[in-house]
Each structure stands twice: as C-alpha cells, then as structure tokens.
Symmetry: C2
Subunit: 626 residues, 2 copies
Amino acid sequence: MALPRLLARALHRAAAVSAPAAPDFNSFVVRTNTCGELRSAHVGQKVTLYGWIQYQRQGLFLVLRDFQGLTQIIIPQDEAHSHVKKLLSNAPVESVVRVTGIVSPRPPGQENPKMPTGDIEVKAETAEILNFCKKLPFEIKDFIKKSEALRMQYRYLDLRSLRLQHNLRLRSRVVMRMREYLCNLHGFVDVETPTLFKRTPGGAKEFLVPSREAGKFYSLPQSPQQFKQLLMVGGLDRYFQVARCYRDEGSQPDRQPEFTQIDIEMSFVDQAGIQRLIEGLLQYSWPEERGSITTPFPSMTYEEALAEYGTDKPDTRFGMKIVDISDVLRLSDIQFVQNALSYPRGTIRAICIPQGVRYLKNKDLESLKESAKSQFNQEIMEIIRRPDGSLKSLLTKFLGKKQQLELIQALNMQVDDVVLLAAGEHKQVCSALGSLRLLSASLLEAAGLALRDPTAFHFLWVVDFPLFLPKAENPTELESAHHPFTAPHPSDASLLHSDPTKVRSQHYDLVLNGNEVGGGSIRIHSAEQQRFVLEKVLKEDSEVLSHLLEALELGAPPHGGIALGLDRLISLIVDAPSIRDVIAFPKSFRGRDLMANAPDYVTPEELEPYHIQVSWPLEEKEAKKN
Amino acid sequence: MALPRLLARALHRAAAVSAPAAPDFNSFVVRTNTCGELRSAHVGQKVTLYGWIQYQRQGLFLVLRDFQGLTQIIIPQDEAHSHVKKLLSNAPVESVVRVTGIVSPRPPGQENPKMPTGDIEVKAETAEILNFCKKLPFEIKDFIKKSEALRMQYRYLDLRSLRLQHNLRLRSRVVMRMREYLCNLHGFVDVETPTLFKRTPGGAKEFLVPSREAGKFYSLPQSPQQFKQLLMVGGLDRYFQVARCYRDEGSQPDRQPEFTQIDIEMSFVDQAGIQRLIEGLLQYSWPEERGSITTPFPSMTYEEALAEYGTDKPDTRFGMKIVDISDVLRLSDIQFVQNALSYPRGTIRAICIPQGVRYLKNKDLESLKESAKSQFNQEIMEIIRRPDGSLKSLLTKFLGKKQQLELIQALNMQVDDVVLLAAGEHKQVCSALGSLRLLSASLLEAAGLALRDPTAFHFLWVVDFPLFLPKAENPTELESAHHPFTAPHPSDASLLHSDPTKVRSQHYDLVLNGNEVGGGSIRIHSAEQQRFVLEKVLKEDSEVLSHLLEALELGAPPHGGIALGLDRLISLIVDAPSIRDVIAFPKSFRGRDLMANAPDYVTPEELEPYHIQVSWPLEEKEAKKN
C-alpha cells in the first residue's frame, strides 16, 4: 500500500513545482508577516509586523498598513502595558511602527468581510515607533483630489496609495513574465546598448550631452535601432532589451522625455514570425486578473484602417465604421457631391451614430462639426432618421425615395440614429470621420450609452503601410513613413526604382483599443538597397550612416524586430488615464521633476569642462542684471 | 500493474518541470536546427540551417557557423545540383546562407570528437545566399591579434567571436537568474527610475543635459540613490533595478561613461539582512560551469583589511599578509625604527615573499622598492633568508640572535624567502605594503609560481568603514567616506556630536578576488540626524536636498541597500581582462564610440533650442578660421 501514497506525494510535488510559489516577503527581515497576510489560521501565533499607522482611535486600536494590506492592532489597556499604550496612542498618522503581539479572532459580529485580514486582530504586546511623521502637507485621504502638481511634488506620499502600489507592482510582474518568455523559453539574449551615442541625421528630438571635447556632443537616442541591427550583424540572433529611450519634444501632454520600450530583434525571421512571437509574449505575460487574450490577433492593412476607421490605429471595440456612400450619391444632383467626386481621390463617406438623437445634444453635434472644420478643414453634413422612418437633412430634397432607401441600407440607419457625412479628398474625409467617430463615442458614453466594454482588450495588427510619404513642407520630396531601415514589401521591391510612392513597407503596428502600443519592421539587409533608399529616394547624406552600410556589406543576416511601448501598454492594462500613473517618478508635461526641481541652473564653472556657455534670451539677461 | 507506470510518469513529469527546459531557438523561424544542435540521433532528418560560412574548401564542403556552433555541410557534386555547388563554392567567407539537406553520419574515421556536431554532416540539397560578404577589412582568424581600436571600429565582427558571444550570453543568463531570485522568490519590485535628474551637490562627475529652458540643465545621475530611498519612503518595501548609471571622469582606463549596477533597497532591514540577501542572490545566479560558491561570505573590518592587506579590497586568494613587527624591533637600536615608532600611529610592518630569491630578479626587487617610493613616498628595506638559515640585510648587524629568530618566526620566513619591510605612519606603511603584495604576487606568477588559483572565487565583506574622512585638500574639514546618506554604526551614534572622525558607518563593501564588486549601507532615516550630518558635520547647504529631508519627516521607514557593479562582476566571472569584454558596444578609454564616431560636432542651429553655444578653446578657434 506504499505505492499510492508515493504516487500522491510525487504528483503533489509535481504540482508544487509547476505552480510558481508566492514570493517570500519576510525573508532577510525581522517581521514575521506582512500586514495583508494574517488569517484565522494564524490565531494564537506571536507575530511581528512593520508598517504605517493608517488610523488610530482613542487609544483603543489602530490600523497598520504596508504594501500588502491592513491589519487591525488592539492597543493594550492594562497597567503593565501602559508604555505601549502611550507610544501607540501618541504617534501621529503615517508614523512608522513595529508591533509585536498575538493574533486573535475578532469578537463575534466584529469581523470585517471586506478586509482580507478582517477575521483577526493583533493584540499588541510590545511596540516601537521607528519614525514619527510630522504634519502632512494635506490629508492623505484627500490626496487623490489634490492637484497633480502637488501629488508630483510629494510623489513619495502618492506612491503609498493602493493605486500606484498596484500599478508599479503589476508593471514589474508583467515585465518579469516577458523576460521569462523571451529569455527562458525562446533563447533571446538581454543586451544593454549605449545611450550616449551619435546624433541621428535629422534627430531634432534627441537630447544632447556635451562631452569634454570642445564642440562635440553625444546624443541620447530615441531607440536602440542602430544597435539592435548591428547586434544581428554580430550574430546575436535573438536580442531583447527593456530599453530606456529619450525624446525631447518640449511640452507634450502625456509624453515623457524618457520612456521605456520592450525592444526586440531577430535574425532570419519574417513579418509573420515577429507577429506570432509578440502574440505569444503578450499572452504569456498577460496578468491573470485582466482575463485572457486570444491569438492570433486580427490584422488589417493601413488602407483598410484608414478607409473604415479613418486612422492607422483603429479602436475596434465598437462599430460605427466609416461607410463609403459615393456610389449611392454619385447619380444625385448635389453640387458639393459632384464637386468632391470629380477629384482623383474624391469620395463621400459617413458614419452612423446609433441613437444619436437621444444621446447627443444639439451643442454636441455642433461641436463635432466644428472640430472637423478646425482640425481637418472638413465640412460635415448631418442626417437624422425620424421616428416615422423618414430622413431629416438638408440633403433629402435632392434625393429620390430609392436613393434615400439605399442610404438607409448602406448605413444601417435605425430610427433616432444620426449620420455624419463628409465629401472631399479620401484621406481628409476619412481622417475627419475617424476623429468624429471617437469623439461621438465618448459623447455617447458620457451620456450613458454602454458602447465599449471597459474590460475588453482588442489587439489589432495594422500592416502594409506606405514605405515613403511626401514631406509636409515640400510634397515633391519623400521621407520615410517610419525609418529609413524599413524593408519594402517583397511584392513591391521593383517599384522602388520606378515609383517609390507606391511601395508598401514591411512595417507593422500593434494597436490596442485604439492606441499604438508597438511597431516594427523587417529591415533592409542589403547594403545596395539601403544605399539606394538613403541616397536616391530620401536624398540624404549616407556618410553619417557609413558604419551601418559597411556592416550590411560584411555578412548581415536578414532580420526584423519590433518595439512595444511599455508605459502605454501598462497604462492600458491597468486602465490608468495617463502613463504618469504607471511611472514611479514621472516628469510633468513640461518635462519638469516637481519633487527635486529639475532641470535647474548650474554655475558657469560647471559648464567649463564641457566648453559651453548659456546664450541667455534678452529678457532673461535683463532680469539677471537687475 | 498500472500504478508503477503512473508513478514513473508522475516522477518523470516532476523532474521535467523542475529542471528548466532549454530555450527553443527555432521558434518563429524557418530553420529546423541551429548549427550547434545536430547529433547522430538526427541522422536521416531533413534539416534547414542558417548561418555564416566559416570556411569552404575546393567546392567540396563548407563549415556553417551560428551563435550555437559549427556544422559541416557537404556540397553536392552531381550534375542535378550543379547550381547549388556553384552558389556555395563561390560565396565568400562570412557570407550568410540558408542550407537545406539531409543529416548523414560522417564516413568512419572522419568523425571529429572535438566538435559537438562532429559525428554528422549535412548533405546539401538546396541553398540560398542571403547576403554576400564583401572583402573583410582583415582576416577574422587574426582579429584577436588586431589592435583594440580596429576591433572597436568593427565591433559587429568582433561580436561574432566565440568569446564575446559567450560573455554576452552568460551576462544575460546571470542577470535573468538574479531577477528570478529577487522578483519571484523574494518579492522585490523592479522599478525604473529617471536618468534625467537634478544635479547632485558637488556632482562634478555628472554629465549635463541642456533643457529647452534657458540656463537649466538636467544631470545624468551616478546612481539612483535618492530615488531608491524615496521609493522606500513611498512604501515600496523591496526595490531592485538593473540600473544604467553615468559617470564623466574624462579618460580613465577600464572605466565606462555609462555602466550598469544591480541596484537594491529594502525597508526594515539591517546590515546582516542585506548581506544574506546578496549571498543568496549570487549563489542562485552563479553560472554552473564556474563551480559553486559557499555562503556566508567571510567578513573583515576596514581596519583589519588595512592592517593585514593594506587595502579596503583585499585579494584573499593568497597569503603574504602584512605582519606587524613593531614589537620585535622596538628594543633595537635602529634609528629609523625608533623614529617611526615615536609618531602617534608609527609602525614597522613587513610582507614575506615566498621563494622570492628564486623567482624575483634583482631588477624586480628594485622596481618594487621604487614603486613604493614613487607612489607612497615609502622607503622599503629588504631581508633575505639565506640557504644556511641566516638573514641577509642591512638590518642584521643591529639585531641580536634572539631578535633575528623572533623576526624569522613572526614572518614565518623560509630559506630563499624575501621580506620587504617598511617603517612609518600606519596607513602609509600598510598601503605601500599592500600594493607591493599585489605587485610581487604578479611577478611570482609571471615567473611561474602558482600562487592564485585562477578558478577560485573569494568573496569577502569589508565592514565598519569610517563614516567621514578628512578632505584631501583641507584635512580639518570632513567629507563622507561614501555618501552623506550612510547611517552611523549604532554603537557610535553618540560620537557623531562629540568626535565624528571616530564614527564607524553601516557601510559594507563586497569584494571579489581583490576587486570591489558592490557596496551599500543602512541609510539615515531620521530627518534630524540627516540634517545634522549635512549641516553640522559636512557643512553643506542642505537646501538642495530639501525634498529628501522633507521625505524623511513624513514617515520614512528604516532602510538600507546595496549596488553591485554588474560589468565588473561579469568580467571577473568570465575572467575577462577588461569590462569592455562584457559590454556589447563599449566606449574607448577616451569615452569615444569608434564605430559610429561619437561624440561628434553639431551645428549651431541644433544648439539653439537649448540656449547654449560652444566656447571654443583659442587654438581650435584659430584652426577653424584657417
């Protein structure tokens, strides 16, 4: 009869090994438990807890808090413990204390089912105040309501909040799982690349770092792009890095001058290979409490995304897609319609806002139209479907019954729906309607219509981007849609010489709930093709990239990669309004550290080794004089 | 009879789970195997390999290389495969190819037992040249002999070497294990802290980063010291980060302007707690092929280290300790001895070089003495024990028989040993002898004496450092021996007010084979004590640290931490001569990137947004003019 027991034990061991054990938070320290750990099973044990006083009442009890939870501590009232009572009664809220005592069941009826430790309390026997808290600059309870500037100034107090503790710990956990997937399961090598580098040609957004050689500067790169490609040339085969990146954009809401990307590059891989890798990565690292995600992710071409959603990062959690109604209206006798359709890429398109009549006020509709006008220079016409089924619009008098019916069918218009219609050039029309689609979705939700499931995560690949775009300042010249190392689509490679504007790229974006959370490409690995793109298409001086071109000549393998924007990804997972909520010490939108006051003035002597001096703007010069 | 089989299966599963599976290097790509993978068991399989041509011989066979190894490819000779033969015969060495073929046993007698894949070869059926390699700037075989500057310029070629592949992959693996230990086993949170920060007072070694606000600069911090302490105030409890740090020291051999440290901080911990944590961390992450390390590590006070090894980072792999012979010589009638002993910390000390007569030449001994003179301004006297047991030295005529015998016993002098003796002030004498100890060990080893086991790893804690040191430029003023946040030793706290020079700190260094690989401390958590240290002892303006002082007032827990120098640690593990051998893209010792040529000049227009201009040194101004 020994075998079954042995079997059970063996199976138990197998299970114990496969389920990762919880971390031991009490190793290397004196505490026996965290403040979130004690249950009825611990009753009778002598425990030592460390934490912050969350609340204290009339010298009778207090609530002790640490990163894991809250525990109720009963303050002893007998004469023998009068010093303990005195200590604990007089310590201000947020003071740091050690308490040793016995775990006891709460008196019947006083259990708190909302509190994980709500079945027990700890009867304090000894206590020590490790640090008194001076008067707080505000009540912690009201902290969340304080201005963000104040919360940034006292970031260490904000970090004690449940919300930030949760966000930062989840971030750490997700990144750890990503590392396990990449490193342990798929043989990627974590390689640290330099951040003091050479300025990228046209790298206007790169911070400069003066060196001790007069006139020479390092640059903080926006990504390890060149290095990761050189690692492939160096035979590293599979590289990843949780990479710190820098971007100087001046003041930008919800951008940070330094940010983090999960940076990945592989040799001998194609687009599908990278996509399957990333789907597996996200599935593996996805936090359990956020449900599961299904793979493969759907995919959409850039052209489809623009046509149906008016953007290259569609929010596919809801419908309201853009509908092409050019054919419905083509035969009508409407001036602006005919006008629009006469242009090469002229089109008539519309979105249908469900129940718009009931959920949107007139001023909402006006503001939508104004926004299209001011942001996209696009006129919008509205059509409403009345309760009797008929259409109300300035257009209707120009449309026959049949056309009206076709319109209703094409847009699937129900009673009380509102249609926004735009006519003009394809990209402008789609972009304007794409923007209105998102704005009206927010308006509908604000008015109480449940449109997007707040717990849903819709991943989407957007592919087949154009390789080049006309420059904004001079449309006869081309620039890279992403970066000059992106490989052309294999089917379009011959167009590179004849009509580069028509070449699609092997770039892919990963979109989550309408946010770009990643992007990458298969890279050019032929020196000849890379030189052609730089010199002939982009008309750039290839000399500054001579080291890369030379590397491609000396045995560069085909390779490709991707980078995921970690801050954005985590903020979407935890449903935070800003990436500042998933960064321990974020900068303000002006790029300032409000806690330590950075950036700050330095003395001319400190600038001397770097051979630079400040060019003061005139008014500041004057102010300094006075 | 089903049970035993079930049992076996369960046990097998348990074993399979507990032993981490090897990573799958062939996921997401077309290759079936890496070039290091095929064995006799694969014979008959059709495989697809990707790699670099390492070697090709007369159109008969070639050796294909990737990160995992080498595989011999047989080039087909029959007419039907003539195109394959043509392709593979004409591709230059280091070209990138795909080969598909059948795994076959090598003909008897042609197996290569030195090659892991030496039992098989792959008979190529199809092949593709993915990238031709142009003429290499030098033969790869000779690369190791080339100048380091050339290897840095073509770093991507150097990265293909077995040596660098091994170093970078081991580094990645060790860091991954460290993360598992910290994050998964002990509940540490990986938190990324900013690198664009405020200048530390007196932070002369910090790189500056100009901001878009005129005259204001960020600084790249030398470590996340302030942030990690603020995380503890924020209740994060256990923090770690593989942190990028910056240090501008101008030209320094074997220093890098950016480097990496394993940065750790814990709340509610004492010195012993941090030490046990680090011992466990290193034991857990230690690469198997380097043997195992035993814990706990030995510990030594700063005073002991200085007295016995003449340094705060003793190499304990060998003896030759410094011996105090003051008492032996005290009664002698030697002028310089009496002179030295008359000073407050006067001492006579010596080291004994085993078999020095046989292994050291006269010029070696002269150079040792000269180095003590030039570096430490310390005179050295030598004593030799002759084959007949007697002593030969300028000293002997002043010493009686008994004194000579005492000297021989105190230093355990054998025949042919050489003793180097120094008299003077304690610290100077010990430092000079400590330096001579290391120099003579290298000389002995160069001459063929096996002194230090090259496979041995001797970890050592050095503790009880002084908290403050006299400033070099003005010894009446004090500066922090490490940094101003280090807590005083609990037994010495009262001395802080009466005699700060006598206060020992709660700082600890981790030393490996005579190299400092880590350092940390328990920090001051009392705002009052921190303010006293800054204002009264160090006479610094505490205003620049007001945010930290305020944080200590608002519920800072007791805390401490450590940082391990990752580059140095890994270079010692792989026995690399320089940290440049464990960094993918290191800078030269002048801080230059020789591959991309950074730092580099930028245009005045690029400096404009940052309100700075270059102050050209005069001669450069002149050169620019001409």
